[in-house]
Amino acid sequence: MIYSDWQASRRAPTIPARAEGLVAAEDPIVPIPRSLALDTRKVDLGRRLFGDRRLSADGSVSCATCHNLSTGGVDRRVCSRGIGGREGGINAPTVFNAGFNFRQFWDGRAETLEAQVDGPLQNPAEMGGEWSQAIATISADADYRAAFAAVYPDGITADNVRNAIATFERSLVTPDSRFDRYLRGDAAALSKNELAGYRLFKQIGCTSCHQGMNIGGNMYQKLGIMEDYFVAERARRSEVDQGRFNITKRDEDRHFFKVPSLRNVAVTPPYLHDGSAKTLEDAVSVMARYQLGTELDKADIASIAAFLRTLTGEYEGRRLE
């Protein structure tokens, strides 16, 4: 590493060592807050709605079916199954920390969590519901009527249902991952191997896109920057492969996707929009090849995967599994 060594030797005298107890200013990743100020009544109401199967057309599917909180906020399927066992076209992203994403869905078509609610609720391959039916179901439930009346002056409306679910989703933050503890100054939170993985993660350029509080989720990027992913990896292409192009219809947005958050990535397999990477190691290898133009050896892949496993946080005091 001739150039790298030279760089390091030049930088060493001028760049101070990490100060204990401080978040290092040069780190492209910042810890997520330990708590958020949210209306707990809305959170509780949203939690009930999130798990309510009656909002789907045949009463068989709720938001929690695909975004199971006990399995990392996903269903761990390549593509989720909606009402009648219908298979969707894209891998379900985790709902944990979704409130920190700048847009929702892989193609970023929803600007807010509120706007996102309409997608799965009305998608025939997901919940297949309609607002009129959902409102009627909610209105028929005395507990819901009381809960809505207590929080929303105008009672049960589609906007208020959206807001309650979105508020609950905003509450799904997972602080105190080992890596966040490291960023907050606990130097012993990561092993040597994990730390080496983090260095490599930065060194090869992963942090160009996976940065910020959510380690992603704040920009779009093309899948296949250095090599055409869709020619090399995908014999069968589908409409969702077009990514953001499906929304903007601009050629330059073809194959662009929202960069996914890497928080809790160890518990949310399979990976990529098409769910084609079964393990973390697969995902690291694919990303290195198509996004960074490099082939990593097994040791480097294992090292980065070890770092990624330190990103698993806690929800309601328990580490995600």
Binding site: M1, I2, Y3, S4, Q7, E26, D27, P28, I29, V30, F102, E111, Q203, I204, G205, T207, S208, C209, Q211, G212, M213, N218, M219, Y220, Q221, K222, I225, M226, E252, F256, L292, G293, T294
Partner: protein, 263 residues
């Protein structure tokens, strides 16, 4: 005469009703006059001025944050994403918020607001392109030395590859330091010189060379694209037209209030 008498007796018989009617009309007139004498509510006025100020300040902050990213002084996109989101939220308040409800009938204000909305949407678009391209550019610049190291590692002497690679990297990095764009012809020539040297070498070397070249091509492409985007993102979209349109509305309301107070 008869008619007059009948009218008088009718009025006398219904005097109370007529008095009440007259009192109601007078009260309504007073209410209307009272409303017309009211200036723009101070709290609302201050809130709206706050929105205009916020837009200007956010636009300046956005420009600053983009420049920091452009010059690698910042290394994540949370801040720019938050600022453009806040600008959109401010415009939504001006469009739909309660404090701006009286302005919904003001054609000039609405037209200025629509223009501003369009310009901010354009800026949002430019920001997304900037983020994606800047990430790739910075990645390639960071990766370049490693790509070079990987390529020359284990390379025997006398191939001339190391020299060609170093020439190429020096050319790319010096141009970046000088703020100059790469000359396409010179670049193509330097790349061809490298490829000539690696053609007969083992596959691993050729692959390393191709990786290096791909990164250099990315740098070349995005260094051409980014200046325009940075220019767009650091220029002002809020030219004061919206605030001026509001000021004219405000002045009209104040003048009207003063005029009606005379009555």
């Amino acid at each position: 005469m008869n008619r007059f008498r009948r009218l008088r007796s009718h009025v006398a018989a219904h005097a109370d009703i007529y008095r009440m009617g007259a009192a109601a009309a007078a009260a309504a007139l007073l209410v209307a006059l009272f409303i017309l004498t009211q200036p723009v509510e101070l709290r609302r006025h201050n809130t709206l001025l706050g929105y205009f100020g916020q837009l200007k300040s956010d636009e300046a902050l956005l420009g600053e944050a983009v420049l920091q990213l452009n010059f690698s002084l910042s290394n994540n996109y949370d801040q720019v994403t938050a600022i453009i989101g806040r600008m959109g939220a401010t415009v939504r308040q001006l469009r739909q918020g309660d404090d701006a409800r009286d302005l919904r009938r003001e054609a000039e204000f609405q037209s200025q607001l629509q223009g501003l909305e369009d310009r901010i949407a354009g800026k949002g678009d430019a920001l997304e392109r900037f983020k994606s391209r800047n990430a790739v550019l910075k990645n390639s610049l960071i990766y370049l030395p490693h790509a070079r190291d990987q390529l020359v590692r284990g390379l025997g002497g006398g191939t001339g590859v190391r020299e060609r690679v170093d020439d190429l990297i020096e050319y790319v990095l010096l141009n970046r330091l000088n703020g100059a764009l790469l000359e396409r012809g010179d670049l193509d020539q330097a790349i061809e010189a490298l490829q000539d040297r690696t053609r007969q070498l083992p596959a691993a070397v050729r692959q390393g060379s191709e990786t290096l070249v791909r990164h250099i091509r990315q740098i070349d492409q995005f260094e051409r694209d980014l200046p325009d985007l940075v220019q767009q993102l650091t220029s002002h979209t809020e030219d004061g037209g919206l605030a001026e349109a509001y000021q004219r509305y405000y002045d009209r309301q104040q003048e009207r209030a003063v005029a009606y107070r005379f009555f």
